[in-house]
């Protein structure tokens, strides 16, 4: 039957029927679709939903931009772990982890894992990198995570990876009291070619830094809003680019907060004036703290730790000292002039965001330590 020959009334009736069928089926379909979506979402929430935290391309504190990204990443991590049951850490873009930032990350994670033991972790592993020369696959970042105990801490399955000598020598540990044995064993582990004098000097700095953490770092709760009672310190020893690196970290209130509690303002002002600093920034307070000793009335025999922490610089021309505390960063190193005269250089950096803790890092060229 031709279309034109259909009766107009009949055609209207058919059209109407078709229209209502479409409407009826469409509503039904839509309802079904929404129901499915809702149930899928609920299932995802109860089964596999993760709060995802994305790690920055460079987990690093040396550079200003990376510093801000790293601090933001740690803040997101704290937020995710304290609020969710499942957290996924995404290392998809991560290409490098430096010593201080790596130690800060693992300390922060260790603290969170202890405080929230029911949280389940998963991760997206770092990308495989290809060496520029031969195009060989390298798993350096994953090996670093492996070595610093990330997988062990989060109970994520560890993969068998090639051994990278510059990573496998990394070692870290933690404690609540100033236990010299932990520091000594870490230093022993990393390189047996260190001279006994070098070990003694490194040990001296490390045990004083650790004692300071235990004695001063935790007078009150850390201002991160979590109100956790964890007064630990973390230590790292490793070799990077021909230098031995030793770092000690705490997640306490920071040097700029503890300095005015330990010393009178009159004394602080004298040191600040001597160093030509105002004392308004965290980095300036860190610099001042390395020269402050308790005054006679406040127990003159105390406060020798600052000297021990700086001591390596006096013995090794290539040694460097870096102290991060809250927003401040203080670098110190020896520089030798062409005349052979040595002089110290101190540099201050103020960052936008606080690491909410303190890291003291020494690095010394290996050849100087072996002598």
């Amino acid at each position: 039957m031709k279309k034109a020959s259909i009766d107009k009334e009949l055609k209207n009736k058919i059209d109407q029927k078709r229209h209502w069928r479409t409407v009826r089926n469409g509503t039904e379909e839509r309802r079904q679709r929404l129901n499915n979506k809702r149930s899928r979402r609920q299932k995802a929430k109860s089964d596999g939903w993760h709060d995802e935290v994305k790690a920055p391309p460079l987990i690093n504190l040396y550079d200003e931009k990376d510093h801000e990204r790293t601090v933001d990443f740690l803040k997101s991590l704290r937020r995710a772990v304290s609020r969710s049951k499942k957290v996924r850490i995404c290392f998809r873009d991560t290409k490098q982890i430096t010593v201080s930032a790596g130690l800060l990350f693992i300390s922060e994670l260790d603290r969170l894992v202890r405080a929230f033991p029911d949280v389940k972790f998963s991760c997206i592993r770092p990308p495989v990198q290809h060496s520029s020369k031969f195009g060989n696959e390298t798993y350096t970042v994953e090996a670093v995570l492996n070595q610093i105990g990330f997988f062990q801490l989060t109970k994520i399955k560890q993969r068998q990876l090639p051994i990278y000598p510059n990573v496998s020598c990394w070692k870290h540990s933690q404690g609540t009291v100033a236990e010299g044995e932990i520091a000594g064993k870490l230093l022993n582990h990393v390189d047996n070619e260190l001279s006994p004098a070098a070990k003694r000097r490194l040990y001296r700095g490390a045990i004083e830094a650790i004692s300071n953490c235990v004695d001063h770092a935790y007078p009150s709760a850390r201002p991160d809003g979590l109100d956790l009672d964890d007064k630990r310190w973390w230590m790292f020893v490793g070799i990077m680019m021909g230098r031995l690196v030793v770092a000690v970290c705490d997640l306490g209130v920071g040097i700029p907060t503890t300095v005015p509690q330990k010393h009178s303002w009159d004394k602080i002002r004298v040191v600040l004036e001597k160093l030509k600093l105002k004392g308004t920034r965290d980095s300036e307070m860190i610099h001042a703290s390395t020269y402050l000793r308790s005054s006679r009335t406040e127990q003159s025999h105390r406060g020798k730790g600052g000297k021990d922490i700086r001591d390596l610089l006096n013995h090794y021309p290539g040694a460097r000292l870096t102290i991060y505390s809250n927003k401040g960063c203080f670098h110190d190193k020896n520089t030798t002039l062409l005349t052979g005269q040595k002089y110290k250089v101190g540099a201050l950096n103020e960052q936008k965001k606080s690491i909410l803790g303190t890291i003291i890092e020494w690095s010394v060229p290996l050849e100087e330590l072996a002598a």
């Binding site: 236990e179 003694r200 001296r204 004692s211």
Partner: protein, 112 residues
């Protein structure tokens, strides 16, 4: 003369005070030094060799603390100062002597 070897106390000397950690300067002073001084006076030799290293807090508290806590007289301190030995790092013995001298002079100032 009695010889006290720190390595027999610990290979890893710790912090200043007992409550900060094990093998502290305070513990060494109270457990080892004070009983030995009570028995032999200042006539003891302290051998600092054989340990992993020392923080200055440990040394200051162990030796300077003897004078602050009046466990030793100034004469005994002077005698003790001449019997501190370290072949591995002679500067350590010098350092200990300076702590004994500083603590002596501070205690005399307090007295005056």
């Amino acid at each position: 003369m009695k010889t006290i070897r720190v390595r027999e106390f610990t290979e890893f000397p710790g912090p200043r005070y007992r409550d900060l950690g094990p093998y502290s300067g305070e513990e060494f002073r109270e457990k080892i030094l004070v009983p030995a001084i009570k028995e032999h006076g200042g006539n003891i030799t302290i051998d600092l060799d054989g340990t992993f290293g020392y923080g200055s807090s440990f040394l200051e508290e162990a030796f300077g603390g003897l004078i602050r806590n009046k466990s030793i007289t100034t004469e005994q301190a002077n005698e003790l100062a001449s019997h501190i030995i370290s072949e591995e790092d002679p500067s350590l013995a010098e350092e200990v002597r300076s702590y004994l001298t500083d603590a002596s002079s501070n205690s005399q100032e307090d007295w005056l």
